[in-house]
């Protein structure tokens, strides 16, 4: 009876769980207002990431490419960045922030992005765009390092580093959400509002679910402004919801500007949300209000109807973003379920030191495996060839075929969830998220019982 943390033994990947770093940087970039990133590399690095994001949100977001072709790969392509910045600024008068996001190809050929940015600032911006506020932000995200998760982390750090500026201290706190859904942001903001906390929610994507309006062109965009980013240096503290998606920036703010940071438990589930609101209270001195006690109670009430009757003992595999996977596993344990396999899709050396993983290793009283640098074959092979029995899969849509192939019910969670409608509207964090998740899991099991006619009569009198 043990919880083992292991690295995938095979080299290479059969069905990847994650894409590469530039995707994470691109996602962070669309959380910033008046910002269009330029991805310095081949066109596919942008075209497919834009498609991926639009598959998830059913929206389109603007990200540009420096369109590196063969000559650039041979002779260097910094001129492509110069041209791209010029063209972009000339045609998009509202753009103020342009992150230059590198890829594997331009990191290998060694294009000096920081040098180009200096040159552009001295020449193009000073001359052609004099008087216009423009910020160029270098974001180094070689695809052969880390994953989309670390790419998000690196980009958040790059933005904060670029803008954070010490002036008068404020009563605000910084909240770095990480790679979440609009539904999560709404939930977090509602907690902050309940506690009467003035917070800067960073890389804020709540309005990504944009409407069709009777006139005009209403597109979703990030809400985080340059002022928001500048002000991060003057905040009372920083709370990071996902340590691998924003932790670097929090550490930076702490070291450079003495802004204390709390890398919170990812607020998935009741217990982790309790920790989150406790951290908020500690940081701001604001009490936890009755309204949250009520919302927590509503969630507990809903969960009481399903947890020990239906969810207990159910064997779950969870994959995706590390903080989300860990948070879900913790919540599943609280729900009396058995997460038996956790798959983390990259090789971050920090996982072994993660206190949450250590706690699992010390306390889990059945066989659990946590595989890092994992791919989907780690899941499928165990089901197909090693007798792994599962009642439920939690993860994003790229794993949909495993669920279908082996008839295992699945709750879509994380990014991307392109094969289900509207999931981005719903939170998985906070008390509301806990309730929604537990209900989704129960409903998935119910549908499966009915579909397979497996004790479906249980629900006659529930």
């Amino acid at each position: 009876m043990s919880c083992q943390l292991k690295v995938k033994e095979r080299d290479g990947v059969i069905n990847p769980i994650f894409t590469c770093q530039p995707a994470g940087a691109q996602f962070a970039s669309i959380g910033v207002k008046d910002c269009i990133g330029i991805v310095h590399g081949g066109q596919g690095c942008v075209m497919f990431v834009r498609l991926l994001i639009s598959q998830h949100f059913k929206e389109s977001f603007e990200i540009a490419s420096s369109s590196v072709h063969e000559d650039g790969a041979v002779f260097g392509a910094t001129n492509r960045v110069e041209e791209a910045v010029d063209v972009l600024l000339s045609r998009y008068p509202d753009v103020k922030v342009i992150p230059i996001i590198t890829t594997c190809s331009t990191e290998i050929i060694g294009d000096d992005i920081d040098g180009v940015i200096n040159k552009l600032e001295d020449e193009l911006l000073a001359e052609k765009f004099a008087g216009r506020e423009v910020h160029l932000v270098p974001v180094h995200t070689p695809s052969f390092v880390g994953s989309m998760i670390s790419g998000y982390d690196v980009a958040v750090l790059a933005f904060v580093k670029k803008f954070a500026k010490k002036s008068e201290p404020t009563d605000k706190i910084n909240v770095i959400t990480g790679w979440v859904n609009p539904g999560d942001v709404t939930e977090i903001k509602s907690i902050l509002k309940d506690m009467d906390i003035d917070a800067t929610v960073l890389f804020e994507i709540e309005s990504f679910d944009a409407p069709i309006m009777p006139t005009g062109n209403s597109v979703g965009h990030g809400e985080t402004t340059i002022q928001d980013l500048q002000g991060t240096a003057n905040a009372k503290g920083t709370i990071v919801l996902n340590r691998y998606e924003g932790g670097k920036a929090a550490t930076f703010l702490e070291k450079k500007f003495k802004v204390p940071s709390v890398v919170s438990q990812t607020p998935i589930g009741i217990r982790n949300t309790d920790s989150f609101v406790h951290n908020l209270k500690e940081m701001t001195g604001k009490p936890i209000p009755e309204s949250l006690v009520y919302k927590r109670g509503v969630a507990l009430d809903a969960i009481a109807d399903i947890s020990h009757m239906f969810l207990a003992e159910k064997r779950v595999a969870i994959y995706g973003a590390p903080d989300m996977v860990i948070g879900l596993a913790e919540f599943c344990l609280d729900l009396e379920m058995k997460p038996v396999l956790l798959l983390l899709g990259d090789d971050n050396g920090g996982y072994a030191k993660d206190p949450r993983i250590k706690a699992l290793q010390e306390n889990v009283d059945y066989d659990m495996e946590i595989v890092t640098n994992a791919d989907f074959w780690e899941l499928e092979n165990r089901i197909k060839n090693e007798g792994l029995e599962l009642d439920l899969i939690l993860g994003h849509s790229k794993g949909r075929f495993i669920s279908m192939e082996y008839n295992i019910p699945m709750v879509r969670v994380g990014f991307p969830t392109f094969d289900r409608a509207g999931l981005y509207n719903y939170p998985i964090v906070g008390y509301g998220g806990a309730k929604w998740l537990a209900e989704q899991m129960a409903n998935a099991l119910f549908t499966d019982m009915e579909y397979k006619k497996n004790k479906e009569w249980l629900l006659n009198v529930w």
Binding site: V13, N15, C20, C45, F48, S54, E83, R91, S105, T215
Partner: protein, 522 residues
Amino acid sequence: MPLHEFDCSKVIPERKQHAVVKGREEDLTSCLPKGYLNTIPGSISERGCAYCGAKHVIGTPMKDVIHISHGPVGCTYDTWQTKRYLSDNNNFQLKYTFASDVKEKHIVFGADKLLKSNIIDAFKAFPDIKRMTVYQTCATALIGDDIEAICDDVMEEMPDVDIFVCNSPGFAGPSQSAGHHKINIAWVNNKVGTVEPEITSDYVINYVGEYNIQGDQEIMQDYFKRMGIQILSTFTGNGSYDDLRGMHRAHLNVLECARSAEYICDELRARYGIPRMDIDGFGFKALAGSLKKIGLFFGIEDRAQAIIDEEVARWQPELDWYKERLKGKKLCLWPGGSKLWHWAHTLEEDLGIRIVSVYTKFGHQGDMEKGISRCSEGALAIDDPNELETLEVMEKLKPDLILTGKRPGEVAKKVRVPYLNAHAYHNGPYKGFEGWVRFARDIYNAIYSPLHQLAFTDISKDDFATDKGFMTRRMISDVDLDDEVKNNTELREYTGGFDSVSKLHDREYPEFESQSAPAAAE
């Protein structure tokens, strides 16, 4: 020259050479936009890369192959599960994708050993699959791994496997089109002629440039089989690796998407003397003409005609039901490459739709030549469009529908223009006679969506009707229709089901007596 200058692109003067309006009595030589040039950085073009052109468009539809990309994981992830090319091999090629997962240490010290162990692991994981394609990516092209040598090594150690190498890194050319070219040539150079196929008919074709989107290939295969034609291989939708190694024995290459696959046809003509015949699988008139052309080539026009008669009798009344309701609608035809000329005239001929704009993301001037010649006066043709330009066009031309990709479709949605997925289709397949009716049905459903109308109402300002709890499509589409048409009992809406492909799997085909290859039939 009727060049078109976009307001949003005035600051990039060279863009003016990339858009034209087809004017009255214009000669193609004066109204061709420039095409297939390097992309303008920062323009927010819709182009992809040469890797995706090779791997994602042409390579991966092959159904019995382990498709492994040698590079960091992103290229593989990003090109996985974003297409609808099916296969009768339980969709193996859709479900599984492989990457060597190159990391920093491999960039520094080389990734050849990594690739080799990957290849072996992949074959081990899927012991029934004996064929593989290895795709180079930007990273491994730049570090210079000798992929061929590694694969030769493996093939020596594992004699029952065969591996194809495709060197088409993302940066190799202005767009995905460069990748189409590279994989065409690599396949004909390295794999064609390495298997001797069994010939079972007097009439043997390769079906080329067909990617089995939602089952297109299976629809066309049905017609060919009914004509007694042997399909030696399909390049590449629903295609089998070993069948494609025997392409050199066909009597005719029947080519659909000339943009992505004319290269291999031209090489097969030069090297093996196999003629190339370009066809259209889309549209009643165009498809009928194509089937007749193939029949004529083999001297079996009667068989082609019999199919056309049967299919037209079955489906024309349904196509015409839609035609009556779609006549005069304005449509922007904004696909990737070949559909601009596959669809421009067919939509006009068969459905009376007006194509007000065509564009191509990665097409060449030849595609524009064909596309412009096939659409009507006044059409705006755009090469390598970008986001602002497409918004400007939608604003000015106010089309009733655009045919484009998923993400640009989301852009259109926000300016209240419905879209159909031109690459992956909505409810396809769209090839074949029934497929074309499905396409008409999808266009009708998009344009006459009762909710679409509501998108234009500003409830805070406008007067609007409150006397209705619903509208049907026909309450909108039939308002101005003649009673004669409305009451016509011959015409009917589409009567096929959700799945128009699976029924073909159990179909029995006529046996035609072979003149020259009786023994081979056994």
